[in-house]
Every structure is written in C-alpha cells, then in structure tokens.
C-alpha cells in the first residue's frame, strides 16, 4: 500500500507544547464505484440546477442558501455570508484536557485519522505518545477541518497517535425513546442456556484476515459477466420463517452446530470461523 497522503500539516498543542504533525486518513473505501448513466445510450448523467418557479436553469452564481424557518419560508444567506460563518482553519489541534481512554464509548467515534510526526516534531510526538500510553488517557482536542470545528479524541495506537473525530452527545439517539413499550415475556432459563451454548459454539478469536468483502468480489464478477455479454439472472429470495417455538429452533440450531463441528474436526486441524448457513 502506498504511503498515505497527508491531508493537513498541523500543530498539535497541549499545555504550552506545540508538536508539528501530519494528519492522514486511517481508512480508505474500497467500494466498487459507479457513475450514473442513461440506460438507453450509456451517456453520462448531469445534474442541473433549475429554479422551481421559473422552470429555467440557474447558474451557480445565482444560488443563495436558505435555512427553512417555517414550512416554505427561508432565512436567506448569500454564499459570502455563509463563508463568513465558516471557521478559518488555523491548522492547530488543541488538546483541551485528558480523560481516561476507556471511558469513551466507541459509539462517539466518527472518523479515524492517523497523526504522523512532522520534521522537528519527533521528540514531542514520542513524549505525548508514551505519556498517554503510561497514563491510559486520551486527549480531547478541538480543531478545524473541512470548514468546521471538530471535537476529537487522541490515543496511542500501534506506536503512533490515532485521532478520532467525535460525535456530540446530543447527536446520539435517545435509546429509551426507541425501546418498545412491551419488552415481551422473559425467555425461560432453558432458552437462555441453549442460546448461551449457541453463542459459545460460534465464538472465535477475531482475525481481521478472515473477513473479506465478498460482495465487492461478487459485484466485480457481475460486471465481468455483463461485459462478456451474459444475461444476469435476478433470483427470487425466500423470506426466512419466524419460528413459533423458540426452544425448538434453538435446539435445532445447537444440533446443526454439533453436526458441522463434528464433521469439521475430522478434516480441519485449525479452528475456523463459522461458515454462514444460507
């Protein structure tokens, strides 16, 4: 894999210490990318702006931004006004405080970035890294990125500093408002025990190498088939059945696991993750 391109050269500040760093994306999308095309002639689809009142195309220069304050009623900002409300990046990642790293629920993590040490910053970088590891703390920082202020958590990770942008608390759905009024009858101890056995039989050590995007490969196969002029069959899907008898379904699941485990033991020396049953 090529060395990830730096997204931003920044200065990481904690207390009065400033450490020059580079921000890199920690993830990359490997989705198969498609363009919108016209089915009849394969030509590109263009998105054009139209005034809904005049039914005429509008150049971008004539576009203003509207914030809906009541239905159909907008507070209007020009693009310049909106730009003025957009923070200017001072390329500074300011650590405001430190918190115990394991107190941050991963549900707050938005996007992950790596911080790399920039020239002259190595000593300070290493110091912060080692001190965070020593104290099991995460730095909570503010910085401006992609035209907005972000909250971020900074942690040591595999010898480098990992930065996660954070969601704000009020962005998380209130789960108590989502819970069904009636949780249903409690499962019987026997059902719980069988379900626990099933969980146990499907337990594996997580090995990232075991998880590949099979769909990505299947889509590429489809593309190749279509390119070769083959007809794509669109299969019918059967809806799964909902079992009335929970205990019987659990019992049958356990027996199926037993059976496949016994069969596997004979052939495979190493424990493999469970294969999907389709």
């Amino acid at each position: 894999m090529p060395r990830p391109r730096s997204l931003m050269n920044a200065v990481l500040v904690f207390g009065d210490v400033a450490v020059p760093v580079k921000l890199h994306s920690a993830t990359t999308s490997k989705d198969v990318r498609f363009n919108e095309v016209h089915l009849t002639d394969g030509a590109k689809i263009e998105h054009r702006r139209f005034c809904s009142e005049e039914d005429k195309e509008v150049p971008y220069a004539e576009v203003a931004m509207g914030y809906e304050i009541a239905e159909g009623k907008y507070a209007v900002l020009t693009k310049d006004q909106l730009a003025a409300a957009t923070p200017h990046s001072d390329k500074t990642i300011t650590v405001e405080e430190f918190v115990p790293a394991d107190e941050i629920d991963p549900v707050f993590y938005d996007r992950g970035y790596y911080l790399g040490a920039a020239a002259d910053g190595e000593a300070g970088y290493r110091l912060l890294h080692d001190a965070l590891a020593r104290t099991s703390r995460a730095g909570i920082a503010h910085f401006v990125f992609h035209d907005r202020e972000r909250l971020a958590a900074l942690r040591p990770h595999d010898g480098i500093l990992l930065l996660h942008t954070l969601r704000f608390a009020d962005e998380l759905a209130r789960l108590d408002e989502l819970a069904p009024d009636d949780a249903g009858r409690a499962p019987t101890p026997k059902e719980v025990k069988m379900a626990e056995q099933l969980v146990e039989s499907l337990h594996v050590d997580f090995d990232p190498g075991d998880y590949r995007d099979e769909h990505r490969a299947a889509v590429m196969k489809l593309i190749e088939a279509k390119a070769a002029g083959e007809e794509i069959q669109v299969p019918q899907v059967q809806e799964p059945e909902v079992a009335d008898d929970l205990a019987a379904a659990l019992q049958a699941s356990l027996e199926a696991r037993e059976h496949s485990a016994r069969r596997r033991r004979g052939t495979a020396p190493k424990r493999q993750p469970a294969k999907r049953r389709g």
């Binding site: 207390g15 210490v17 400033a18 890199h24 990359t28 498609f34 363009n35 016209h38 089915l39 394969g42 590109k44 998105h47 809904s52 509008v58 509207g66 914030y67 209007v76 923070p87 390329k91 430190f98 918190v99 941050i104 991963p106 790399g116 970088y125 909570i140 202020e149 990770h157 010898g159 704000f168 009020d170 962005e171 998380l172 759905a173 989502l178 409690a186 499962p187 719980v192 379900a195 099933l198 969980v199 337990h203 990232p208 190498g209 099979e214 769909h215 593309i223 069959q233 669109v234 299969p235 809806e239 799964p240 079992a243 929970l246 379904a249 659990l250 049958a252 699941s253 469970a274 999907r276």
Partner: protein
C-alpha cells in the same frame, strides 16, 4: 420514532427475528437548501442525459462502471441486487467475538435494531438475544446488504436494545506502520515524568454532554443574523503556534499553568 432505513430478519442459528434498523445518530447538522437568489424559489436538481441534452427520469438511470481497458459496463439496480440476493433481506450472524478484539477503526456507523412485530414470539426471541449478549462482553458478527453495499456488522446490546454497528472491511483500514511515528529515541525519564504530570493536571472525567457543537451554534447564529439584518459576521483572528525551542522548559511552564487552572477550580 426515527424512520426505519432497513427491515428484514436477524438470523441466529435457526432463530429468525424480524427487525427494523434505525440510525443511532440524529442528524443535528444545520442544513441549507439552495435557493434562486433573485426570487427565493427553491432550486431543483434535474438529471439530464449529457448526449441528448434532455431530462431523464429515475427509471432510465443505470450504474456505469468503467473497466481497466476503458470499456463501460452498465448494470441496473436489479442486476446489481443479484450479487447478494439473500443478504439484502437477512443479517446472518456468523460468529461471536470478544468486544475488546475489535479495533475501533473498524467501526463505521452505529444503528439500533428494533423488534419488528408485536407478537410474543418476536419480542421474546429479540429479548433472548439481547439478554445473552448483555451477559458477556461479546459481539455478534454478521453481514448484510444495505443500499447495494455489503456491510460487515457488529451486534451488541445497549440499554436493553440490540445495537448494530456497520464496520469497514479490514483491508479498508490503513496499516499504522505506513505512517511516520515517533522517533526511535526514548524520551528521558525526566521529560516523560513532566509530560505525565501535565496530563494528570489537565485530566478530568469523560463527560460528553460538556462539549457543544460550535459549528452548529455558529451557523444558527448566522441564520438569526440573516433574518435580522444583512450584515456579514466578522472573521476570526488567526493564530499560529510555533514549536518550542526548549521542550523541558515548556513542559514545566505548562504544568504550572495547568495547576493554576486546577487550583482556580475550573
């Protein structure tokens, strides 16, 4: 209640639970709509065929893929669905893993799974899986297809509800070793001790409610101002910190400042 973005079946062994998927994140962003400046009418986006220069309806739009030799292959959404016929309706639990073994970089978007159906059978099967997952620090791993993309998902339990987090595939996480890390030179014990002290002095409990989205606040303020006047808000001053000449000195200064702050009872 937030809108369900997917509904289908959660399959655990031979137990199938009908479920609905809702986002665990509420969109609190300040959204603007494009308007025609002249008359204030909303702008509509219309799709045009670049060749014919004519408007095209949704039904006439396909997905084009350009192969390495420059040839274009076109698939309809129906054909694309043929890549994973079952997985678009069912989340199959493949395995259970220890929650601690999952690198947080693999986590993408959090959702909540809700039981779909009022019957006792549905509610009880849902509750059984939630109870069992709550009892240990395990997550269920599965796969399903959402909007023509397969997702690896981790299913756990939060506040008695099944939570589902879409994951990136491990080959979508860049290796940390590709990044220039710290110097190989170990910091001196004195410098490390001073840094640890600065961290301790600036430490507090994690309280997410204390942080406010400044971007949202600022945009809403700009909206308010636009309602009142046509004045343009002033720009903020820029600040560029520089790397300190003497790290040890700076650490000492940081520490005394942090302690002052602490004493002042922040």
């Amino acid at each position: 209640m937030p809108r369900a973005i997917w509904s289908g079946s959660l399959s655990f062994g031979l137990v199938n639970v009908p479920v609905q998927l809702v986002s665990a994140v509420r969109d609190r962003d300040v959204h603007f709509r494009q308007l025609h400046e002249k008359d204030g009418a909303p702008i509509e986006t219309r799709r045009f065929c670049a060749k014919e220069d004519a408007e095209v309806s949704f039904e006439e739009i396909g997905r084009g893929f350009e192969t390495d030799n420059g040839k274009q292959v076109i698939l309809t959404d129906e054909e694309l669905a043929a890549a994973a016929p079952r997985k678009s309706r069912t989340i199959d639990i493949e395995a259970f893993v220890d929650a601690d073994d999952l690198d947080p970089l693999l986590l993408d978007h959090p959702y909540v799974l809700l039981p779909a159906g009022e019957t006792d059978g549905v509610r009880r099967a849902y509750r059984l899986l939630a109870d069992v997952l709550a009892g240990n620090d395990r997550l269920a791993l599965g796969r399903f297809v959402l909007r023509a993309k397969e997702h690896l998902v981790a299913i756990g339990v939060r506040d008695g509800l099944l939570s589902l987090t879409t994951m990136r595939f491990p080959d979508e996480v860049r290796p940390a070793k590709d990044v220039d890390g710290s110097s190989r030179k170990k910091p001196t014990p004195a410098a490390l001790k001073a840094t640890v002290e600065v961290i301790e002095a600036l430490s507090t409990d994690w309280d997410p409610a204390r942080y406010e989205d400044q971007h949202r606040r600022r945009l809403l303020a700009a909206v308010k101002q636009a309602e009142r006047t046509a004045e343009v808000p002033e720009e903020r001053e820029e600040r560029t910190p520089t790397a300190p000449a003497d790290l040890m000195d700076t650490l000492k200064r940081s520490l005394s400042e942090a302690r002052e702050k602490q004493k002042a009872g922040r």
